[in-house]
């Protein structure tokens, strides 16, 4: 069995959690399948190779510290082509999405999206994709070079957060034709509240139905001395400010109590709130994936529950 390449991800000089989540899993898999667990770094991140102790070795492909959809994908393509690994793990993240499908397509090797699990299987790997908003799992068996796009939060980051001194090999990569140029990093506008610091969050999703009805959730938040959060569609609809958004492209929160109102629990949302100490979900769809992560659930109409709750508590 060949090696597993883990394409590390960094932002502002720090490896992101997804890097360690993938490394931990890759280390576990190569322990079974044989081969080496190899981390691939960009820019000057080879200077932090001591954080990548879960890897047997590091390939440093250099280039810019600033992510670039074109040059990072081209570089990964050239390193995969040169090293012929059994499996390439890339984050199912904003950066990973630019790398995985384009490199795999250019190399004519399979790519598997939304991997929630990967196991060693025969001479290859078995990848479980979380599809249809988390309502179905599809198993794809790959044998030979393939790219697995790993969902953030699918694996334990602590298992890959091992310090050490892996050997670092410099690799001279192709960085593409320069048709995309990085200009700047834009920091989020600071909102009225920092929901990553909240102890109690009342979060509203699409189930709330209309902008006016958010008022009811606000009332509940006030009674509970909680802050108001939301899922992505409410921000896209202009109903809630971006600073309140929980999930993949929003904030990662871990309050003591997270009350999810009318949130179905798409993987993108769950990624941002599953570390909450206690999760209470209210949703009329009993099959909603939110109930897989919630500690307590209710399938009643959220308006009935919230109205009654506010009345009782007042």
């Amino acid at each position: 069995m060949g090696d597993i390449l883990v394409i590390t991800e960094h932002l502002k000089g720090e490896f992101q959690d997804i890097t360690f989540e993938m490394l931990g899993k890759a280390k576990e898999l190569t322990g079974i399948s044989g081969g080496q667990c190899v981390a691939v770094t960009f820019g000057s991140m080879n200077g932090k190779a001591d954080e990548l102790g879960a890897a047997d070795s590091v390939i440093s492909i250099g280039g810019s510290d600033d992510f670039n959809p074109e040059s990072y994908a081209a570089a990964v393509q050239s390193v995969v082509s040169a090293k012929s690994p059994s499996l390439v793990m890339v984050g199912s993240t904003s950066m990973g999405m630019d790398i995985a499908s384009s490199a795999a397509t250019a190399l004519n090797i399979p790519a598997v999206s939304y991997c929630a699990n990967i196991s060693a299987s025969g001479s290859g790997f078995s990848c479980t994709s979380s599809m249809y908003g988390g309502k179905m799992n599809a198993v794809t068996n790959v044998d030979g070079p393939a790219v697995a796009m790993v969902l953030a939060g699918a694996f334990n980051a602590d298992a890959g957060r091992i310090s050490g001194s892996p050997t670092v090999e410099d690799f001279s990569a192709d960085f593409g034709a320069g048709k995309i140029r990085f200009k700047q990093l834009i920091e989020p506008e600071s909102g009225d509240v920092d929901i990553t610091q909240s102890e109690i969050l009342v979060a509203v999703g699409r189930g709330i139905g209309s902008k006016d009805d958010i008022e009811l959730a606000e009332e509940l938040a006030e009674v509970l001395d909680a802050d108001l959060a939301c899922s992505r569609p409410l921000v896209d609809a202009g109903w809630m400010p971006k600073a309140h958004q929980v999930g993949k492209s929003g904030m990662k929160v871990k309050p003591k109590v997270y009350i999810a109102l009318g949130i179905s629990g798409a993987p993108e949302h769950i990624e941002g709130m599953k570390s909450s100490s206690t999760i209470i979900a209210i949703n009329t769809d009993k099959n909603a994936p939110i109930f897989d992560v919630a500690h307590y659930g209710m399938t009643e109409d959220l308006f009935d529950v919230v109205e009654e709750l506010v009345e009782e508590l007042e």
Partner: protein
């Protein structure tokens, strides 16, 4: 400046989803399909650019199937200038779909190709980067803001935590749209009816679908339920939990 927007339908997730007899794919007989929500945002962003004067023409493109005509007429009713339907095949995955679009796009003129950043049914990678790779043009995913100037576009790509990267992209290019500047608009039914009577959908053969993704689904099933939630029967029980957790 011309934008081609690629549209596709996906199962409506409010439906109860079931696996068919093969055990490898969804049973689609009784389920409702709807426009991929990210594609809806891609179309909206294109229309907003046209309304701002930065774009002259928008063409909506989709593969033939149940509901395709209605989807394309709706796109015209919202603001697209024309529609193209790809016929003569049934793409089975993102790669075959990418091949079908790329075959047709190869003989079309365009400055930008817009598509939704992802869809709930892509198992073998996302359409945008696959098409970028087939056509040999740049692609950026998770785009939520575009300004066009001359033969380049300045775009915002979303990272996590509300951070964004700003990039300058040489055109032509593919954009995987995450969100338009405003919620996708609705087209009144009367307008869609009117479009159906006056507009024509151009039909083009999708050609050879290539060798696909190089992988296939071995099995499909709903996720195993873990311990799951402890279900609460009424508000009294909910209040007990909130008390127990120190919320009240």
């Amino acid at each position: 400046m011309k934008i081609i927007v690629l549209l596709k339908q996906v199962p409506d997730l409010v439906e109860d989803l079931e696996v068919d007899a093969s055990g490898k794919t969804l049973d689609t007989d009784d389920i409702k399909f709807k426009l991929n929500e990210y594609d809806d945002h891609a179309l909206e962003e294109a229309i907003l650019l046209k309304e701002s004067g930065a774009v002259d023409e928008i063409i909506a493109m989709a593969v033939d199937g149940n509901g395709t005509d209605k989807m394309l007429f709706t796109a015209i009713a919202k603001g697209a200038d024309g529609a193209v339907k790809l016929t003569g095949g049934n793409p089975a995955d993102s790669h075959e779909l990418g091949k079908a679009f790329s075959n047709v796009l190869a003989s079309e003129s365009y400055d930008m190709i817009f598509t939704g950043v992802q869809s709930v049914d892509d198992r073998d990678g996302q359409l945008g980067p696959i098409i970028g790779s087939y056509l040999g043009i740049p692609c950026v995913s998770v785009v939520s803001g575009i300004k066009v100037s001359g033969d380049t576009a300045v775009i915002h790509k979303e990272y996590s935590g509300g951070m964004m990267g700003e990039f300058e992209v040489d055109l032509p290019a593919v954009m995987g749209i995450q969100a338009a500047k405003q919620s996708p608009r609705y087209a009144p039914v009367s307008k869609i009816r009117q479009v159906q009577e006056t507009a024509a959908i151009k039909e083009v053969s999708m050609g050879d679908l290539g060798s696909g993704s190089g992988s296939s689904v071995a099995s499909m099933a709903p996720p195993e339920k873990g311990a799951g939630s402890e279900m609460l029967e009424d508000v009294e029980e909910l209040i007990d939990v909130l008390k127990d957790k120190g919320v009240i």
